[in-house]
Symmetry: C2
Subunit: 151 residues, 2 copies
């Protein structure tokens, strides 16, 4: 059985993570985080809402938004800007890059050690203090390419 990504481990110690960041533990927050971590792709707030609603039917959309914003503020989640203008959330907090399909809007992670090691140009240093590097490739994924060729 192929093992899931490492952020699944975080799932086990979910309340530990919450405590560490001094976040109140609520059923909604736990479910939202669980759903996020279990989704392979990078879900939008709407996707998360839909998934959590099956567990907590009374949950509201804005609790989802508030929780996601909270998680992001505490560095428990990342945020990805997608092509369709909905924000996507990323439970994978280790450094990685993205492959974005402009047809189906899916976002896949990939790693690129050569880029990790590449030293940035000198003139960047005088710009200011760099904190994070974002890279994405945009194109069309295999599935969408196939779909375009044969109807």
């Amino acid at each position: 059985m192929p093992k899931k990504k490492s952020h699944k481990e975080g799932l086990r110690d979910l309340s530990a993570i919450f405590k560490e960041h001094r976040l109140k533990i609520t059923r909604q927050r736990l479910e939202i985080f669980k759903v996020l971590a279990s989704m392979e792709d990078h879900p939008s707030a709407e996707d998360v809402y839909a998934a959590v609603k099956t567990k907590i039917p009374t949950i509201s959309f804005d609790t989802v938004y508030r929780s996601l914003a909270l998680f992001e503020r505490h560095g428990v989640l990342g945020r990805v800007q997608s092509l369709d203008d909905r924000t996507r959330y990323d439970p994978n907090t280790s450094p990685h890059y993205h492959l974005v399909c402009k047809t189906c809007k899916t976002i896949r992670d990939f790693s690129w050690p050569d880029l990790d090691e590449l030293t940035a140009p000198d003139d960047i240093k005088e710009w200011g203090a760099i904190e994070k590097k974002y890279l994405e490739f945009r194109g069309i994924c295999r599935e969408c390419l196939a779909r375009e060729k044969g109807p």
Copy 2:
């Protein structure tokens, strides 16, 4: 030989560019494009609107939006997603990367030949067809750093 279009050059032959793409030449479009090309930073639709309004006081916001979208569709302009959720436009169509200040939200261009030449990991090829590479560094620019230290 295919001519390289720096945006300054484009500015000179503005109506030529429009004709080439079979876009009707209107006063609004000309002004919008001129304003874009003259702005050092990457302006938002609002910035463009404000600047063009000094030249054509009767121009409407949606003409600006429509023109920017048109230009983008024809590859005359690029689009940058900014940290404050307003779209920024980029008259520089040659390949380059961005430095984004998370405090003042400015976006500066830079080039990185080593990255241009770096070959992407093999497993990306099986994902699909890559069309474009986006990279940005986020951090705090020199000016904002100084402002934070001593007010």
